[in-house]
Amino acid sequence: MDRNQLIKWLEAPAKMGHKYSLHAVYFCTGCGIIEVPPSITARWDAERFGVLPTASPRQANLFLITGYVSVKTLKAIIRTYEQMPEPKYTVGFGSCPINGGMYWDSYNTIKHLDKYIPIDGWIAGCMPRPEAIFVAVTHLWTLIDKDMADGYKRYRKYYSQYRANQEKVLLGLEWPPLFPIEAG
């Protein structure tokens, strides 16, 4: 550990903790999840970056949305995202969450995921290789360092817009709003 790192640790331990302990929700949303097992096991070993899959969203702070998102999956994604404790980071993985990808003209697939939950970064490609996950992780480090990974703050701030979009596509949600929604 060089001296810069040490100074950073002393200055902002919470931020550094978040950087080097990214625990991911192990939630298979689409076909892209097939790239995750090699990246967390012996071949690419994500644990050396502090990235570890967890069993429950309560314990996690990183959400990888891997692949296309159908309307039903979106519901589970929103629920899972809302149950993660703040600060939390989301990364869209593959081209489908970005703009629908090859499922653009599907009647039941979400096109732009960032209309429903905030996204801190994208990994483009169909499919991205596991190496891309590590590029994304290191990139996320930079974003956390510069306080630019602020999706959870944006979610809080523009919650009424997000909630309206979610309710529009899902025809209503079964759970009450996470944050109070101001009128208008």
């Binding site: 429950s56 589970a76 994604i77 629920r79 949600l173 759970w175």
Partner: protein, 619 residues
């Protein structure tokens, strides 16, 4: 004069309650409470007194006598204390039920007759009070009426009758041998008694006391009785009434027989106290695993009553001052926390409209916080976690067993405790934790008059757990009365060379550590309170209705142990009862109502007589 007055107030009060009940229910309730309170105050004033007195009337030339000493006082205090709380608790619990005059009368009458047994100075009056106690208990067990209640009552009374008969035979044989039934005189005479007589008396008395103490294999009446009895009476039944068996054992082993005689009652390694200890050990393990299989809140507690009786017997039968103190102290502790638990179970039953099935409860911690605290503390006491009273007595029992070199008995005691943890947690979890079902959304808090007994007992559990010196000094006096060396005591615990117990140190350590962790938790962590429905369900909103795991809480363990923990004694007794009934049916067939057959019987009988006379000529 005080003791006579005590008995008069107790019995008179119960009768008067019945009479007053015919006038007004409020008057009856007030008087019952006042009566119970007066008795508690009187027994408080009697603390430390020791005397014996013959009453001015007699029966068949036998003088009735009553006496007061630390042993009697100890048991009388537990009886009257729990009695007072049970009466207070009954007001709301029994409200709106039928036959209330009868209920209060019987409740107070049981208390009075239990008091009678512990202050009786001779075996005859002991027997009379004992019978009064048995019969009134029967009446209260089957108070609710209906087939099950009557069955439970009959089961109890038959087993109790067997015990009473055994005791009667023992008393008569003692009387024929020594011409007296006074306990003090008998104690002197017994030292010169023959071994055969002593053995007979010991075995007969033990049958009585083991039955009433619900030890294996004579425990079978207790779970049924609890399932049917009303909760305040369940508290009395399992806290004090069952322990009359231990009072009897104390009387028999240490007052009438004494140490030197007990040592002589042995054949090789099989001595009386050894047999008793092993019965206790079997009881502990068997009851713990039986309780695991139960799914009814009161049946779980009933089986735990059976099991805890085993601990007391273990402690008592070790016959060192430490084991004795542990056993005696455990009687007091058990009486506190089991009454607490029955009060809690009763409160749940009262507020949820009679639900006792653990599968259909849940999440009540938010609705009934007082009951939760009571239940948690009671279970902690039952397990014997440090800082509760159960810990100190169990510590004494374990330690005496280990130091006496009886690891197998100690193992049984430990195993029972670990079983207790399992069913204790199940009790807490299935009633109070988890999701609140929709049907129980409108459950109200525990009513005040039911909360007061619960809170009093909660305080006592902690008080006796943190400052065990206070009750142990009383226990020490009981031990001294029975001829044991007094235990070294401090108000904070037990100093000893082979391992000191210091509960106040423990309390301080836990308090400091708890405070530090709490501080860390509060300063560093931030949290938001969320609703119970905001729960991880694999990304889905949780479904309506039940979202919990309560059914068959220990299913894998059930599958492993259930083939081995069948209630064999119960099946055996039921089989005997069945056969007896069948035999009765056959006997009834003899009386066919046809004169010819009667004539034939007579002729056959005469022929048999003639045949016998001709063959063997016995006459």
């Amino acid at each position: 004069m005080m003791v006579e007055l005590l008995l008069i107030v107790a019995f008179g009060g119960s009768l008067l309650t019945y009479v007053l009940g015919k006038l007004s229910s409020r008057l009856r309730n007030g008087f019952a409470l006042l009566n119970a309170l007066a008795l508690v105050i009187m027994i408080g004033m009697l603390y430390g007194q020791e005397f014996e007195r013959s009453l001015p009337f007699g029966f068949l030339g036998i003088q009735f006598s009553i006496r007061m000493n630390m042993l009697s006082w100890f048991f009388a205090a537990t009886i009257l204390g729990i009695g007072l709380l049970a009466v207070l608790y009954s007001f709301r619990y029994m409200k709106g039920k039928e036959r209330l005059d009868y209920y209060y009368f019987t409740l107070l009458f049981i208390n009075a007759s239990m008091l009678g047994t512990v202050v009786a100075g001779d075996l005859l009056s002991f027997f009379i009070f004992w019978e009064m106690m048995s019969w009134s208990t029967y009446l209260l067990i089957s108070l609710r009426g209906g087939g099950k209640a009557i069955f439970a009552g009959i089961k109890y009374i038959i087993m109790s009758l067997v015990g009473s008969l055994a005791m009667l035979v023992a008393i008569v044989s003692l009387y024929t041998a020594f011409g007296t039934v006074d306990i003090g005189e008998l104690a002197v005479h017994m030292q010169s008694a023959s071994l055969g007589l002593a053995l007979l008396v010991v075995i007969l008395f033990s049958i009585t006391f083991v039955i009433i103490n619900a030890l294996w294999p004579f425990h079978t009446w207790l779970p049924d009785a609890h399932a049917e009895a009303v909760s305040p009476f369940s508290a009395i039944l399992s806290a004090v009434l069952v322990r009359k068996g231990l009072y009897g054992l104390f009387l028999l082993m240490y007052v009438i027989l004494g140490f030197s005689f007990l040592d002589r009652l042995a054949v090789g390694a099989i001595s009386f106290s050894n047999v008793l200890a092993w019965i206790g050990a079997i009881t502990i393990v068997f009851a713990a695993f039986r309780a695991l299989l139960q799914n009814d809140s009161k049946r779980i507690l009933a089986w735990s009553t059976v099991g805890q009786g085993g601990y007391m017997v273990l402690g008592v039968s070790v016959a060192t001052s430490m084991g004795m103190a542990g056993g005696t102290f455990h009687i007091l502790n058990h009486c506190i926390y089991i009454a607490l638990l029955f009060f809690v179970a009763g409160a749940i039953e009262h507020r949820t409209g009679g639900i006792r099935d653990l599968d259909s409860l849940g999440g009540l911690i938010k609705k009934m916080p007082v009951a939760f605290v009571g239940g948690l503390v009671g279970i902690f006491g039952l397990i014997g976690l440090p800082l509760t009273n159960g810990f100190v007595s169990k510590w004494l029992i374990y330690k005496s067993l280990i130091l006496e070199g009886r690891p197998f008995l100690a193992f049984a005691a430990f195993l029972g405790t670990w079983g207790t943890i399992l069913y204790g947690y199940k009790f807490i979890h299935n009633i109070f934790l988890g999701q609140l079902p929709d049907e129980l959304r409108d459950v109200k808090r525990v009513p005040f008059t039911m909360a007061v007994p619960i809170m009093v007992l909660v305080v006592l559990v902690f008080l006796f757990g943190v400052l065990p010196g206070i009750p142990l000094s009383v226990v020490n006096q009981v031990g001294t009365y029975m001829g044991f060396e007094p235990l070294d005591l401090n108000v904070w615990g037990i100093p000893s060379e082979s391992g000191t117990l210091n509960v106040v140190n423990l309390l301080a350590a836990i308090a400091v550590a708890g405070f530090l962790v709490w501080l860390l938790f509060k300063t560093l962590g931030r949290s938001t309170r969320v609703d119970q429905s905001d729960n991880y369900a694999a990304g889905a909103a949780i479904p309506r209705g039940r979202y919990g795991f309560t059914r068959e809480f220990y299913a894998p363990l059930y599958r492993i142990v259930s083939p081995y923990v069948k209630d064999f004694p119960d099946a055996l007794f039921l089989w005997i009862a069945d056969r007896t009934k069948a035999l009765g049916g056959m006997t009834r067939k003899i009386y066919s109502g046809y004169v010819g057959s009667y004539v034939m019987y007579i002729v056959l009988f005469l022929a048999a007589l003639v045949f016998v006379q001709l063959t063997w000529s016995p006459w």
